[in-house]
Subunit: 302 residues, 4 copies
């Protein structure tokens, strides 16, 4: 057995040095370090397709460019997220940054002032009008989509520079979002439909695409931040495509409550979602801390 490393911190230390030093520490620091090792290995493995699933308010949290880096560097082959992430992303892109809440707030006053609270981050309510304008103006092009992935590719092509949607588009990374209806972008689609504008998006068509990507890969790797539908949707593709050979999960949920978001990657072996001999690790940490650390480690190594 290895000795636990009583980690030394030095002046001017680089993030990658810190992450490497954590390798033989215990608890979540050790897991975080191993997460970077596994991600490094899965990204370098030319035979491996990397599926990145993300839930939680990472864009209001300040992590838009952190996600972009995974796409921009083509470290991932497939991106799956919530509708909320794409809405927050587009709202930032349209010029409505999220704002950092100060102490002493009152939700009723925030409502009157037009701020929508996500813990200590605020969305500006007036962004909805900008979304309306954006979708009105661009509807004809978008309405050609037949499934959600296609819709998001078309949307990515016209999204502002710097958005996740645009970055994925520019790097030819498909974006899946099974519950897009459950979001501000979904509301935009619903609003146009209600106004009699045509669009026909099949709810089940995407499944074939993502399962085919997993099925035709030599190997698969998964990177989950936050659980939810994005994780579960990728897990399903692993089960019916090909079980993952690598896995990293960052979540603050617990296994023992039985939900998918807190399920350890280990459980996936029973389902055939994870290879029995896969390399994987679960990290229990707020994503706004863990993912920047992981990214900084990877940037120095890749």
């Amino acid at each position: 057995m290895d000795k636990i490393n009583q980690i030394k911190i030095s002046k001017g230390m680089k993030v990658n040095e810190l992450v490497k030093g954590m390798k033989y520490t215990a608890f979540n620091a050790g897991k975080l370090s191993i997460a970077v090792d596994i991600l490094e290995e899965m990204i370098k493995d030319k035979d491996c397709r990397v599926f990145f699933g993300q839930a939680g308010a990472l864009v209001p949290g300040g992590m838009q460019d952190v996600i972009n880096e995974f796409l921009r560097n083509k470290w991932v082959d497939v991106f799956v997220c919530t509708g909320a992430t794409l809405t927050h992303d587009l709202v930032e892109g349209l010029g409505f940054p999220h704002l950092k809440l100060e102490d002493g707030f009152d939700d009723n006053k925030l409502n009157e002032q037009g701020y929508d609270r996500v813990y200590n981050s605020l969305m500006q309510n007036k962004a909805y009008s900008a979304l309306e304008d954006f979708f009105n103006k661009n509807w004809d092009g978008l309405s050609k989509a037949g499934n959600i992935r296609e819709f998001l590719t078309l949307l990515g092509g016209i999204s502002p520079k710097g958005t996740i949607l645009r970055t994925a588009y520019e790097n030819k990374i498909p974006v899946f979002c099974p519950a897009l209806a459950d979001s501000g972008i979904g509301l935009m689609i619903w609003g146009r439909k209600a106004a009699g504008r045509k669009i026909s998006i099949d709810a089940f068509d995407d499944m074939k695409e993502i399962i085919d990507i997993a099925w035709t890969a030599k190997k698969n790797g998964v990177f989950y931040v936050g659980g939810g539908v994005p994780k579960n949707f990728i897990q399903q593709a692993m089960q019916f495509g090909k079980p993952a050979s690598y896995g990293v999960q960052v979540t603050t949920d617990n296994a023992e409550f039985g939900g998918s978001s807190g399920a350890p990657l280990q459980e996936g072996i029973s389902w055939g979602k994870m290879q029995a001999d896969a390399r994987f690790v679960d990290v229990n940490c707020d994503a706004t801390i863990a993912v920047p650390l992981i990214l900084a480690g990877l940037k120095d190594r890749l």
Copy 2:
């Protein structure tokens, strides 16, 4: 201010007595007691439409009939859940009960033996064949659906007695499941489509229905168990329909990580999802403990 009640426990005590006795205790016992009061009030309020959103593996957890009771007693007007819940529900109905895991398991062996693990509950893998048969046999009827809610109504009509799907159908309670693609039932639809059988389900059509239900209500009430897409989808209907006047949330997630599942109901006031003067409470407790307690309390009162 009220005094904290140093609760007395008596021999033969009924659950409802226990729950009432918790009212003036602190922490989550006090919250649980108030949750029952608020649910009682929202169910009794004839002007109020009750939206029940549920995520997490409640059926593998043994809570299928607990959910049914809310539907069977017509305490709720709308039910929103994950595709996993409906799949687990149908699998139970088709004669494949979940099994309780014994100690000393090995996920690789479970995989070889055909068991899919959800913490300490197991799904029997052979249920997938039964699902295949069921959907093959019933496809023609199901394929008439144009949106997910319609599909689930049709599915409810042919589901075995005792399932959530059937109970909702019998009580004319619409079931929404925005991310149905992310589930075993979704896979069944995908499989039929892949085999050339026709179905055309619009991904965004349900939104109009649920928002209309919220819009046309005099008042709305929400009951969330476990967060996820079901909660967020109802919250969206509150925001664009009519803010909730009552709310109860059971979750084990934390507010400070910023995700929707852990967001306190209070946050909804800023969004216009919750009335500023609404009665609401958040309970942090495993749903398999909290929801049976709540139900037993309600059964004695309603």
Copy 3:
């Protein structure tokens, strides 16, 4: 393997019926049910000495009499807790009930008004004067104690009826509190000492007593609510006395952060604190919900 029980809730259901019905459910409901079974067995086992360790603000939470029941029924042989619990207990006994916080509070105003906040429960600051009077009046008797356990026995003998301290005294159950210095009662001792009144309490003398109790038992059983020093101090007695044959733990902490409070009982096997063939279970639930349920179950069975 057993089937998961889809639990049925009936009108007028007793708590013990509910708890029994949870036995073949999964997640924490199943664990809670097994916890009652194990406690029933360890209490009935005439050869077993039961150690009850408790941390967390259970008295401000309304659980004073819940703890008393375990003592009053002589279900436990040793009680270990924090100094805070004993202080809260005495304060209640001296006529200063905790109060339930209303919404819209301001910690600065609470401070000015003399309320000390414990989440949503308040201690009345004026209780400190009553404590001063109580200890001034009773000092001569108390100061004969040579160790903390003796001090608490003497204190129990003069504490008001209904307190944990008095109930333990009346039932001849020793109370240990290794960190008594870390509490309001500790401050009272410090205050008298500072005023020149004599007392000489050895910090390490109690260890012999508790280890001897564990050492001379045929079997030991442990019941931990909330972790902390009380759990760890009992675990130490198991390790150097005799490993436990039964264990129940109620905690909301997580294993993976490495702290003692979240450590699963299973870990104790490696240390020799728990027998390899012991019956034990960990329940992740707010104690204010779990412990009343456990108690109500036990009252119907014992």
Copy 4:
């Protein structure tokens, strides 16, 4: 209001740059960044006495030198911790490093092989013999102590270089440990006493010292990692000495269960433990991740 910063991660990024970049992010990344700012300010404030309270298995986690750095740089004036930390510390110092657990362990086998498990870190059981030898050899010097702080100062003077105990001694930082009886070192004291060797350590004598340090300070600052008795003991010194002007807390516990470990620093205002206008922040993160980040930030700034 400030805009949320969509943080940019660069190649070769230093930890301090990362931490600074997190300042205007939301959730726990933002809090971590502010924690470093507050610690920087409290350490630089010549009028401020800094109290560092630590609970949890940080030494088995690989954080011994991380703690040392706070002492070695004289950034803290008082150190309060659990007996477990000091035992783990001394065990490392005596040449028994903790070991990193590999997968596929069995607690019963670990017990037979002499390993004591702390999640995924192992203590070597044979360290107890080394502890026995150490205390036998050094007893005469140690037994002159009259209180726990004195005992730990004497122990620090003879502890191996590189231990927390020794580092605190060398930098004249008093170490308090109210529950020292609850630890391996406590057992060593008990063992000597049982063998008839003399020592007389007063359980309540330390309180005067720590309260006096707080009382005579112009200002106080607190840094809590992990809650427990160390936090509560310092909070008590703030309440009866002088309320803190600065505060940083790293914990993974939740406020709503009512325990001291999860209590937000904000609550301390009601008690008079924290100034109403103090600067403080709570960070919810595994200490093995958060504390190295904080330290690396401080090293670059101080």
